[in-house]
């Protein structure tokens, strides 16, 4: 709710209108987190590889959250670097979500540092192909990822090479298909 530059106005006659367009006022100044994002991108580029960062942006809707998209082959190395890095120390993985965008998959990691005073969330996204999706596992870096990656494997069918025990966790072992995929058709609709 601290998002001041992004003002949304509501049409008062909302009862009449079915749909309401949210009027977005132009963003004049850059986000206060832009510098943080730039530093993060520089760090990844200089330590990992020039082409490791696919995209970097500020998510204004989510309180100016710095978000970067990492290319999947570099992910494990980047994860280790982010955790060990003296300035960032992103040692707390708070959430992992998998999303099916129909043409590709995306896994989103929300990270936080518990060691530094500057507790800034960072959002990291990895994309995976729709056919044979695979993203390197980061369970060796953050143990939180263990069950979360299993859940994503179970419900979305994304492989996590390097995971110690990649088995179904919510659905039974012999379940067919991955329910959270957008094109999922249950074999037995009665279940």
């Amino acid at each position: 709710m601290s998002d001041q530059k992004h003002v949304t106005e509501m049409d008062p006659k909302e009862a009449k209108k079915e749909i309401e367009e949210n009027e977005v006022v132009e963003i004049v100044e850059p986000s206060p987190n832009q510098a943080k994002l730039d530093r993060l991108v520089d760090l990844v580029k200089s330590n990992i590889a020039e082409d490791a960062v696919e995209e970097a942006y500020i998510n204004e809707l989510d309180r100016d959250l710095p978000s970067i998209v990492i290319r999947s082959p570099y992910w494990l190395k980047t994860a280790m670097m982010l955790k060990e890095s003296e300035t960032l120390k992103l040692n707390y993985l708070r959430n992992v979500s998998g999303i099916d965008y129909e043409t590709y998959f995306e896994v989103v990691y929300y990270l936080l540092s518990m060691s530094t005073d500057n507790q800034q969330d960072i959002c990291i996204k990895i994309k995976a192909d729709r056919e044979d999706p695979s993203i390197p596992s980061v369970t060796s870096v953050w143990n939180t990822a263990n069950w979360n990656e299993r859940e994503i494997y179970d419900l979305l069918g994304i492989q996590f090479p390097g995971h110690p025990n990649l088995k179904r966790i919510m659905m039974p072992e012999d379940w067919e298909g991955h329910p959270l995929r957008k094109d999922y058709e249950p074999i037995d609709p009665e279940v």
Binding site: I19, L61, D62, L65, R94, Y110, N143, W147, R168
Partner: protein
């Protein structure tokens, strides 16, 4: 010739001390656990999949059923996420009502934990004491929103019901009553030698491990990490109230017990200030379009539920239904540490450690 053999023991899925349908397969060497494999998913209802075909308002009753011991905070995290996406301003009175019910819910949830935890480790009567007080909170909720467990009280933009007349006074009267009862609890249990012998030094882990496993709530604070989302990343109107974040450093089951016990007292402190500052009048709903279509984008909001950090990740495509809705369920994340804690412990300590983590299976399985 005496020969020992490894014993494979299946605990659950139906077992009173697992607090739901949770199964754990333990390998035993005598009485000592050598390996533990939790099996979950018995209560998986596919909330996230169901939500993709429901409007945001329709998803809220489903969140009631996730962490059914703490439905109010679940309601809030979803509403908060949608409100953040839409950049809605919530009326003052609604924010106060939300805060009051969330803190009452925290007390109710901790009371359930306190009662059942002691029941797990062999003390029968604390359970009855705790549920006596919890009943009062539930009666207050019942009067406010018409349900005793699945409240469905909050809506995107505010709350459904205004406080009935005299309700705030009931909350006000409840605070000294509960303080009095807490003293009674302390006399009843906190000094009990048998209880102390069961929990002190059991299920120990350090701050590094807790952070590595992504623990949150009392599980994290019992290791000395002072991290409470109400303080560190304030949401709602928590920044207006004075309260402490209880921290212990030992990281054992006793430390977690003390942290949760102290949290009840802190919640009472917040409630005391909230009923004093409660606005006389005002709206309880913001201006919300009839069909809620948040702008295209992504948001992750997190709040402090009684069990830890509950988060809600929404991917919106400007439709009335969420494109993807993911809940970060604290019980699910906190439970991961269990197999690590159990190795080397005796079978009797399994119940102590599992109860100390404080899980709700509806939330673990999603």
């Amino acid at each position: 010739m005496i020969r020992t053999e490894e014993l494979l023991l299946n605990v659950g899925p139906q077992h009173p001390s697992t607090h739901g349908v949770f199964r754990i397969i333990v390998k035993l060497d005598g009485e000592v656990i050598t390996e533990a494999t939790p099996v979950i998913g018995y209560l998986h209802r596919g909330t996230e999949k169901l939500a993709e075909n429901l409007t945001y308002t329709q998803v809220i009753p489903y969140t009631d059923r996730m962490d059914y011991v703490s439905a109010m905070t679940n309601n809030y995290v979803l509403c908060h996420a949608v409100e953040t996406l839409m950049d809605l301003e919530i009326p003052e009175r609604a924010e106060f009502l939300r805060l009051i019910v969330m803190e009452l819910q925290r007390i109710a949830s901790h009371l359930v934990w306190w009662g059942t935890y002691l029941l797990d480790i062999g003390a029968m009567s604390p359970f009855l004491y705790a549920f006596r007080e919890r009943e009062m909170i539930i009666n207050m909720f019942n009067e406010l929103c018409g349900a005793r467990l699945t409240y469905f009280y909050m809506r995107v933009g505010g709350v459904k019901w205004d406080a009935p007349e005299g309700w705030i006074d009931k909350v006000r009267d409840f605070i000294p009553y509960m303080r009095d009862k807490l003293d009674e609890y302390e006399q009843l249990v906190s000094g009990n030698e048998i209880f102390l012998a069961r929990v002190k030094g059991v299920g120990k882990y350090d701050a590094q491990t807790a952070i590595d496993y992504g623990l949150s709530g009392a599980n994290l604070r019992s290791t000395g990490v002072k991290f409470d989302l109400r303080k560190n990343q304030p949401y709602s109107i928590y920044d207006r109230f004075e309260f402490d974040v209880p921290v212990q450093t030992e990281g054992d089951c006793y430390a977690r017990y003390l942290v949760r016990f102290e949290e009840i007292k802190q919640s009472l402190r917040i409630l005391e200030q909230a009923v004093e500052q409660f606005p006389e009048d005002g709206k309880i709903m913001a201006k919300v379009p009839r069909v809620i279509r948040p702008p295209e984008g992504e948001v992750y909001t997190r709040i402090e539920s009684p069990r830890g950090e509950i988060g809600c990740h929404i991917v919106s495509k400007k439709k009335p239904q969420p494109y993807r809705l993911k809940f970060r369920r604290p019980s699910f994340v906190n439970l991961q540490i269990l197999p690590k804690l159990l190795v080397g412990e005796t079978m009797t300590n399994l119940v102590t450690i599992l109860g100390g983590i404080d899980i709700v299976l509806g939330e673990v399985d999603g």
